[in-house]
Symmetry: C3
Subunit: 146 residues, 3 copies
């Protein structure tokens, strides 16, 4: 306690996606941004500036976990539904994006994200393939005078 | 990097809603709070202090997008379900609120929110019409000495 | 406005859960961490480092509200589904965790969380019973010189 927050940094990454619905593990790219920022203690905010994609934190040990997540989201919110009115044909992507959320916040200690053992950060693409953007801001809460 | 966070500000807005389920675009009202705060670089936290309403970020170009979101949420979580036990008859509103979430964080650069081209912030009413509250805190990460 | 952020603090709590799916009210434990941190103005970030549990903010006056939330999540994302591929048999828990989210941010004013009258913070267990961890960071936005 008692130390000033000493800085922040925003980076913007390009995330290419290859399928209509896909979970892209962006953990290593977020780690690179944190390392470049020099933030040792604080947190990182990841933000998706799109309305048909989101972010979620999930297991990356078994790829079937994110496969099952995509399967169930598609079952609950099918691509085609005769009651959708939005005429671009991607209402499901908008809805899935809202269910996952546009941002994730992860704590940083000793320069590293405090992720659980099995956790990874996923860019959740629901209307790809596209070239997507991801904004990342690292907030430093360790005072320079400590 | 290296600049202290220099301030914060919390505002509380009244959000009138007009229907039981409704997505109210609050983007311009959040913008006004940010402008009044003077924050140039940082982020804004929007927070809903209710349990039958939430927040989501979605497209505002075509109103059918939020209409389809409300349609699908109602299909998945109907207002009436004989297996609900909460006797106020609004279990669906609580569940939808948890699916959308209570808060949203958006980055601020050069005094403006870093929203995507199609993004707007929506107050997600699920048990209106009511007079609702929305808390907004702007956090400044630009040092006074920069 | 104008005051530096003066500190932060991360605490890690153990959360024992007793059922496979359970909403554990952790509000009082988060309050204790905030009180110990000395933060008077700012916000608290709660973070779950697991992939089969999450966090949500919901009503704690009537326990049927969280019961109905768990009921509906189970109806939408059943424990058993012959199309799941993840062979640990807990795909539903991963999916439910992503729907609730890994973190919650709540504002702090005058040393207290700015929760709505009926709001409580719930640890959402979907694959218990287990001994779980919860990370809590209090961020101070009140300048020492104010």
């Amino acid at each position: 306690m008692g130390a000033p927050l000493v800085g922040s940094r925003t980076a913007s990454l390009e995330i290419p996606t290859r399928q209509r619905c896909e979970m892209v593990d962006i953990t290593s790219r977020v780690r690179e941004v944190i390392a470049a920022s020099g933030v040792r203690e604080g947190y990182v905010i990841c933000y998706v500036p799109h309305t048909t994609a989101g972010l979620t934190i999930q297991e990356n040990a078994d790829p079937d976990v994110t496969r099952d997540l995509l399967y169930k989201l598609e079952q609950l919110v099918p691509h085609r539904d005769c009651n959708y009115r939005h005429d671009e044909g991607n209402s499901d992507a908008h809805i899935k994006a809202s269910l996952m959320g546009s941002s994730q916040t992860v704590l940083i200690e000793n320069g590293h994200m405090v992720l659980g053992r099995w956790q990874a950060i996923y860019f959740a693409e629901f209307d790809g393939p596209r070239q997507r953007d991801l904004h990342i801001r690292c907030v430093d809460t360790m005072g320079a005078s400590q």
